[in-house]
Each structure stands twice: as structure tokens, then as C-alpha cells.
């Protein structure tokens, strides 16, 4: 484990994300559609979505890879952040809805709401909504973690109750009475900060923002895990009771990472919603949250970069598969779960490290020059 905040892998990662943030929009805007390197318009929100997933995966890796807490409920934090953003976007619709009510979103008019519920107040103000994007998932994570870590619920028990948490939230958000649009969720957004959500320019900006958010999220997590706090976190992951006997209040260490992770997931959700144009309760589905974990496992847990890489790889694969042969996607995903846990415990990054080490070890046998370290 390297002590530097930005190690070699991290440096490459930062460079790639920065380049992508600049080159992909450039390839879309500057190159003509016939050019082999041209990025078609529809790719921009798609890639933006991958970046949001990558940020979410980084958040999951912070707690799973460094804290040993396998969350099967991070979809809940992601969706809560998404809903906070969605509520802002709904309020921006104003009188342009089907029913033309200047205050109430369409679904509320439809459900005979007389006035805006208290928890919708203030969401028309962008900074307030952005605050809620981090505060709501953060608060839920804090309360949940405060109870769970204090009573030392660990391992699979913790995983199961995180599943129960996101399942309960899904059921709740499906109810019309909750005031979040029930089944249909929030959609038909018009604009964000005055810019039309559907416009290509807005999408390019959102894509670049997602890339920056991914970088920021990575740097925050990376800084945290390389600090002395991060070393304690890893100690907790590997030998929790030993850490306790050294005098560390393990629950507080976990709680901090857990809450931060939920907040980052909330940000990812908030960036995701304007790019896909909808948020509904299915984001809370327990199976979604489990799928997110496999992104981290594919890339390599406990590396942060691997998590981001895994998220992009798996989701690109999903897009490719579902376009080509939708029947096979679940087979592929299922096989991925099995193969990664059985044969690639350290994920793609671990595999890569193994390969380069092997190449380095046998330079005499293989005269080909190995990449300079």
C-alpha cells in the first residue's frame, strides 16, 4: 500500500479522466459525424451515466474495500441523492406541466394535493437542493450506521440489514402517499439552472461535471485512505477487535467513512438524474444495490481506481450485451459474479498487477522490454 496520496495508478487514472473530460466532448463537437473518432451525440449522456456509476463505485469501495463493510444498500443513498435532484428539477418545471400548476408538480395535481408537502419546500432553490443531495443520504447513513456500528453488527448481518433498508425504502417510495410520485417517480424535467436538460450543450456540461465529480470523489477517498485514519480503517477491516484493544473507537471510524460514502453516492445520484431524465423507486431495488457491488469486485476492491474501472467496464458490457442479445445479459452478469469471486478476488487491477509482476520477474527469458517503472 503506497503512502502517497497520488500514486502511479492514481496518476494514470486522473490523467485518463481529465483527458476524457476534454477529448470526448471535443471529439463530439469538433469532428464531423463521418470521422472515425467522432463521438455520436447519444454517447455523451451514456458515458456521463457511466461516470456517475464510477463515482458510486468509488463510494462503495471506500466502505467495502477499506472498512470491510459490504453494503448491499448503496443504491438507496444513490437514489436519495437522485430524488433530491429530481425534486429540484420538478420545481423548475413551474407552470409548464400538463396541468399548468405553477407550484405543484403534475403528479401532485393528479393526486389532489392542495399544497406542496413540507419536505418539498425549498427545493426550488438550487443551493438548498444541492445541500440536500449530500445531507439526506448522509443523515440516513449516519443514523443507520450509528445504530449498526455501535451494536457491532458486522459481516453478512450488516449486509442483510442494508438490503432490508433499501427494500423498505423502495416499498415506501412506491407508495403514492409518500409524495414522491409513487411508481412513476419524477420525470419530464425541463431545465436545470435555466438550461434545458435535454439540450446537447447541457449534456456536455453535465458529462464534464460528472468527470470532475469522479475525480473529486476519488481524491477525497484516496486522501482519506492514505491518512493515518485510513490506516486505522484498514486495521479495523482486518482485525477489528485488535484495533479496539489498541484504544480506537472502531464504531466512530466506520461511521465517518460510511457517512462520507453515502454522501458521495448521493452526489453520484444527483448527477445521474438529469442525464437519464428520470428517477423512480426501482433505483432502490435490492438487486440494483447488489449489482453495484460487482462493479467494485470486477475492478478490484480496495483500490478505488479499480472500482471506477469496474463500473465503467460492467456497464459498457451491459449496454453492449443488451443491445446485441438481451437474453444473454443476465447469464453474463451471473457468470461475472461467479468468475470474479472464484478466480479474480483482486479484480482486473489485481490481474494486471500480477501480469506486470510476472513480466518483470522474467526479463532474461523474455527479451521484450517491459514498460519502465
Amino acid at each position: 500500500m503506497s503512502g502517497r496520496i497520488i500514486d502511479r495508478t492514481g496518476g494514470i487514472f486522473i490523467a485518463i479522466v481529465l483527458l476524457a473530460a476534454v477529448l470526448i466532448p471535443a471529439a463530439n463537437l469538433l469532428l464531423p459525424p463521418g470521422h472515425p473518432l467522432h463521438v455520436p451525440d447519444y454517447m455523451i449522456p451514456l458515458l456521463g451515466k457511466y461516470l456517475c456509476y464510477a463515482l458510486l463505485a468509488v463510494a462503495i469501495d471506500l466502505v467495502w474495500g477499506y472498512c470491510g463493510v459490504l453494503s448491499l444498500g448503496h443504491g438507496a443513498f444513490f437514489a436519495l441523492g437522485g430524488y433530491a435532484m429530481g425534486m429540484y428539477l420538478m420545481r423548475q418545471i413551474g407552470p409548464r406541466g400538463v396541468y399548468g400548476n405553477p407550484v405543484l408538480p403534475d403528479f401532485m395535481v393528479f393526486l389532489n394535493y392542495k399544497e406542496l408537502p413540507w419536505f418539498w419546500q425549498g427545493f426550488d432553490i438550487f443551493p438548498y437542493a444541492m445541500l440536500m443531495v449530500v445531507l439526506v443520504p448522509g443523515a440516513l447513513a449516519f443514523v443507520f450506521g450509528w445504530f449498526a456500528f455501535r451494536s457491532r453488527v458486522t459481516g453478512v448481518y450488516l449486509s442483510i440489514i442494508t438490503q432490508a433498508m433499501t427494500f423498505a425504502l423502495m416499498l415506501a417510495f412506491f407508495r403514492n402517499d409518500m409524495g414522491f410520485g409513487g411508481n412513476n417517480g419524477l420525470t419530464d424535467f425541463k431545465d436545470i439552472l435555466g438550461f434545458p436538460v435535454q439540450a446537447h450543450g447541457t449534456r456536455i456540461v453535465l458529462f464534464m461535471l460528472s468527470a470532475l465529480a469522479l475525480l473529486a470523489g476519488y481524491l477525497v477517498c484516496r486522501a482519506l485512505v492514505t491518512s493515518k485514519y485510513g490506516k486505522v480503517l484498514v486495521a479495523v477491516r482486518d482485525t477489528e477487535s485488535r484495533t479496539r484493544f489498541l484504544g480506537y473507537r472502531v464504531e466512530n471510524y466506520k461511521l465517518l467513512a460510511w457517512t462520507l460514502s453515502a454522501m458521495i453516492a448521493g452526489v453520484a445520484g444527483a448527477l445521474y438524474v438529469p442525464q437519464v431524465g428520470i428517477i423512480n423507486p426501482s433505483e432502490f431495488a435490492p438487486s440494483q444495490s447488489i449489482e453495484m457491488v460487482i462493479w467494485v469486485a470486477v475492478g478490484g476492491r480496495g483500490t478505488l481506481v479499480g472500482a471506477a474501472l469496474g463500473a465503467v467496464l460492467v456497464n459498457a458490457g451491459k449496454t453492449w450485451f443488451t443491445g446485441l442479445m438481451p437474453e444473454a445479459w443476465l447469464f453474463a452478469l451471473g457468470a461475472l459474479f461467479v468468475v470474479v469471486t472464484l478466480f479474480m478476488p483482486k479484480g482486473v487491477l489485481g490481474l494486471w498487477a500480477q501480469l506486470t509482476r510476472r513480466l518483470k520477474r522474467a526479463p532474461s527469458a523474455v527479451p521484450t522490454p517491459t514498460p519502465a517503472e
Partner: protein, 286 residues
């Protein structure tokens, strides 16, 4: 309290987290003044009285009473199931006794505190099987053990302070792991891990060290060295050693307590104890 309090001057600090520093241990500084605690109920550093622990009717500890003075070394022996590990668990807060009193420094009720709080009071524990942080380097293992602020937010910092560097240096020197400082703890041999754990114990600067079978898996030379180290430590702080190796216990040359079925069977110098009829019967065997 059932048992009469041991005699002695009341010379302890209030809820002291361990007054003796590593510097004192290593002769850098002289030990600081020990302040008497007017609230202390007992002058003993560790005071266990009538401790009973039962699991589903099985009494792991049965009205156990034990008193350890400041800077006293005590060896605890006893057959398997005598309750040695459970006793350590009670002292370090891992197990809550069903009945009895456990006081540290005369004022701290160990039955009410959590593991972390007890550790911060100045009680360090070394486990039977060496438990170090395998994923961390030897240096980082010591760093994590250093007596410092344990709060989460205070530890979000990078690099090491000069004081930290100095202490790590001295401790690595003492436990002879200087050459291995950058290695992952997982790569160390069993004996090296034992030493690393002892180093971590020292880094905590505890007032009371609980050491569970330190000689297990060590070579004869390492065992002898460990005995020397423990005796050295015991000059300034209390040490409780649980050990099976009789040669090792003899090397320590300290008062011995024999546990049997969760209670104290005999107490005294090793020679006296090993002559005791009952001890011979239950432990040394016939």
C-alpha cells in the same frame, strides 16, 4: 466489597490513562511524579474481587479475586479451561462479568467500560496468537499503536511528526525489527510477529500489560530474550503473564498465581506453588 482492601499508600492519578511514558521506559526521561488519587478505593493497580462469569450455566470464572500492584509482574498458570483467557477478557472489557468488582487504579470500574476506553486507561493486551495488522508495514503497525489521540477526525492527517518518527525508531530498535520496518507484517515469521506485538504493546505505554503466552512459537533464545524484556518492562509498569512454559515462568522469577476452574488455587513464589499438593494434583499432574 467482600474482600478487605489491600494495604498500601494511595498514589494514583485520577482515571489516569497511564502515567509512565516510553521515554521513561527507555531511560530517556525519569518516571513522572505519581499523584495520589483521593478517590481511590484501593491502592492496587488492578483489583478483581469475586468475579463470576458463566456461559449457559458453565462457570468460566468462579468468584475469582486477584490483586496486582503498581509495577508488579505476575505469572498466571493453570490448566486449559482454568479461566485465564476469560479473566483477560473481563479485564479488557470484552466479556462482562455476571457478578463481582473489577477496578483499575482504584477508581475505574472495568465492568462498565468498553474495550477502547479500557485500552485508553492504560491496559494493553497481547494475544495468545500474535495479532498484528497483516496488511500494514511493521512501521505502520507501531505507528497505529503509539499513544496518541485516538479520535477519528484527529487522525485524518498525513506523514509523521518528528516525535512519532523518534518513537518508532526507538521501539523498532528495542524489538529488533529495524531491518524489517518496510515489510508487510504478514511476511514476518511467527517469532517476529510476537516481537512486533510486544513492540506495539510498548508503544501504547500502558500501565498494565496483559501478555498471553508470549513464548509460544519462539526459539529458546527468543524466549530468553522475551523474559529479559518483560522483566525490564516490569520495572516501571505492571505485567500479567499467562504462560504454560515453566522454564519461562522460572526465568521471570516472579510471584505465581495458579488458576483452577475459574478460581485462584494457590499464590506465591513458583517453588512454593509447585510444592503445593493441590496444584500438583490439578496442574502439574501425576
Amino acid at each position: 466489597m467482600a474482600a478487605p482492601l489491600p494495604e498500601g499508600p494511595k498514589t494514583y492519578e485520577i482515571k489516569s490513562p497511564g502515567v509512565l511514558s516510553l521515554e521513561a521506559e527507555l531511560g530517556i526521561l525519569s518516571p513522572p511524579e505519581v499523584v495520589a488519587d483521593p478517590m481511590a478505593l484501593t491502592s492496587a493497580l488492578l483489583y478483581l474481587d469475586n468475579i463470576t462469569v458463566s456461559f449457559d450455566g458453565f462457570r468460566a470464572l468462579n468468584a475469582l479475586s486477584l490483586v496486582i500492584g503498581e509495577a508488579e509482574m505476575r505469572a498466571i498458570i493453570g490448566p486449559n479451561g482454568a479461566g485465564k483467557t476469560t479473566m483477560m477478557d473481563v479485564i479488557t472489557g470484552k466479556t462482562r462479568p455476571n457478578a463481582g468488582t473489577a477496578l483499575f487504579a482504584g477508581v475505574n470500574d472495568l465492568t462498565r467500560l468498553g474495550e477502547a476506553e479500557i485500552a485508553n486507561l492504560g491496559i494493553g493486551r497481547k494475544f495468545q496468537t500474535p495479532t498484528v495488522f497483516d496488511m500494514h508495514t511493521v512501521e505502520d503497525n507501531i505507528l497505529l499503536a503509539l499513544r496518541e489521540d485516538r479520535r477519528a477526525f484527529r487522525n485524518i492527517r498525513w506523514g509523521r511528526t518528528p516525535v512519532e518518527r523518534e518513537r518508532i525508531e526507538a521501539l523498532l530498535e528495542r524489538v529488533r525489527l529495524k531491518d524489517h520496518r518496510h515489510r508487510q507484517a504478514a511476511e514476518l515469521s511467527h517469532g517476529q510477529k510476537q516481537w512486533l506485538e510486544i513492540g506495539m504493546l510498548l508503544a501504547q505505554e500502558p500501565r498494565l500489560l496483559l501478555v498471553d503466552e508470549p513464548a509460544a512459537g519462539m526459539t529458546d533464545q527468543e524466549t530468553a530474550d522475551t523474559a529479559v524484556l518483560l522483566r525490564e518492562i516490569a520495572k516501571t509498569r505492571a505485567v500479567v503473564v499467562v504462560e504454560h512454559d515453566m522454564t519461562f515462568v522460572r526465568d521471570l522469577d516472579v510471584k505465581v498465581t495458579v488458576l483452577h476452574e475459574g478460581s485462584v488455587l494457590a499464590e506465591g513464589p513458583l517453588d512454593q506453588v509447585s510444592a503445593d499438593e493441590r496444584v500438583i494434583e490439578v496442574y502439574l499432574g501425576r
